[in-house]
Symmetry: C2
């Protein structure tokens, strides 16, 4: 006989926009019985081109909303830029555990890499922070990072399987591989350091040299979160058809602007319709 099921926790998931819905999707796959509150700070996106000071202020306000207003007992920062530049500030500002996407991504790269040399593609601000380099170094890896600022707009234009996007990826990866070769690196792993990039995974898989593995920080972060909740939420494996079995995951979505755009584009990232999105005002 099984013991009574524990109360499902509320997990707050935060992103500057809706790209973090790829992380939510990965979380739901592993914890379909949890209650999720997702906040996209769409009025102030993109964080990727802003300064550390500004990003930290925005991220802290968003985290506080999820904890104070939504009762989140655990936060996943589903935004590489905010994880890179504001994780400490968020951890200082809220009294609940906070998980970013950078360290899980680096740990996943560690598990995948044979050569110990990895490539990271991300937004400009994430790359400038060198958060991935530092997290990879802590895992004993050498990492080379590259900002790929055109990939987010290409995903948002819907050109996820388009010759122009394939060409942009080819150019970026050629530059990155040439740089790696010049430094004597032998990379065998590519980390997707932005939550928009999983939508480009098929194109990226076709563009990397043979033998190079593609690591998705969204999947890696969801794995880490699921391990932290071991015992509080029955893992997805025990209830393979939870959603179709009449026990839908409870998801509440909030945005600071452009609710229609969130609903329209967000479904591409989540993989099914986002449902109602509530507009909130964080000031600024």
């Amino acid at each position: 006989m099984s013991s009574p099921e524990p109360t499902p926790p509320t997990i707050g998931v935060f992103d500057s926009g809706f790209g973090g819905l790829t992380v939510l999707r990965a979380l739901i796959a592993r914890m379909p019985r949890a209650r999720f509150s997702f906040l996209g700070d769409t009025a102030r996106l993109p964080y990727g081109s802003k300064s550390r000071r500004t990003i930290a202020r925005y991220a802290v306000e968003s985290a506080q909303f999820l904890v104070r207003e939504q009762g989140a007992e655990f936060l996943v920062i589903a935004c590489n830029t905010a994880s890179a530049l504001a994780l400490d500030a968020i951890q200082d500002a809220v009294p609940v555990p906070v998980l970013g996407v950078i360290e899980p991504g680096a740990a996943s790269a560690r598990a995948a890499s044979q050569t110990g040399d990895v490539l990271v593609i991300a937004t400009d601000a994430t790359v400038r922070s060198h958060a991935y380099s530092e997290a990879c170094q802590a895992q004993g890896l050498r990492a080379l990072e590259k900002a790929c600022p055109l990939l987010v707009p290409l995903v948002e234009e819907g050109w996820t399987d388009h010759p122009v996007t394939a060409e942009v990826i080819r150019i970026y990866l050629n530059e990155l591989n040439a740089d790696a070769a010049a430094r004597g690196l032998r990379p065998d792993t590519l980390v997707l350091g932005c939550t928009h990039y999983p939508l480009l995974r098929p194109l990226l898989e076709r563009s990397v040299p043979p033998g190079v593995r593609v690591i998705d920080s969204a999947e890696a972060a969801a794995e880490s979160a699921a391990r932290l909740f071991n015992g509080r939420v029955r893992p997805a494996g025990d209830q393979p058809n939870a959603q179709t079995a009449g026990q839908p995951t409870e998801i509440h979505c909030f945005a600071t602007d452009s609710v229609e755009k969130f609903q329209h584009l967000g479904s591409r990232f989540l993989g099914y319709p986002v449902g109602p999105v509530q507009l909130i005002d964080l000031g600024g």
Copy 2:
């Protein structure tokens, strides 16, 4: 004998980022003796993907800074999105004349077009506002608008003369021309409804069908501003070498974030080094 020269006015120029420096460049060419204060609201860009309510609030705060703190006696809204969505709100909020870029652009298209049918390319928010359609209609023109969201990031990546950018422009203009043909329009004029697009003018000129004229709203707005100042600022034609003759234009640049990026990228738009940029905080 000439009369004593009138005191040069302070002209406030506002943009969500630094694209509006193309408007400042055009203003300086016509009024090299004026004093300019330029504010780029870089912490909150891009406006192009945000809602009218949010854009109006941001634009009003920025306009008030230029008038109250910088003593601007005249404002040029060098941002198509803010001109499209917030011109009324700004005019209500400050006690000085305010000129946007949309109406000058439409007037310039009127002067250029023989067929009365014009095409407009712009950001998503500018297109959704239909401000160009309405301004063109007021001039007796039929306008067809298209959002081209990849062009701003391509300019910011520095790919202003790049095969990928040429291909993206070809795709966008093909879609626009096909749509125009389907509606029975015979366009002979293309309006650049975003301040980033003048940097793509050579590529755009090569991509439009023969006989189609390209109209730059930045140039059109600067023409209108210079006419409004007739008598207060000696026109550029009277002092062809004002800047090299030891009478440099006085320019003060302000940004709400990313001062280094402003200086680095801004020079491409202004055509020469931007000089010191002062960081200011408008809240938010």
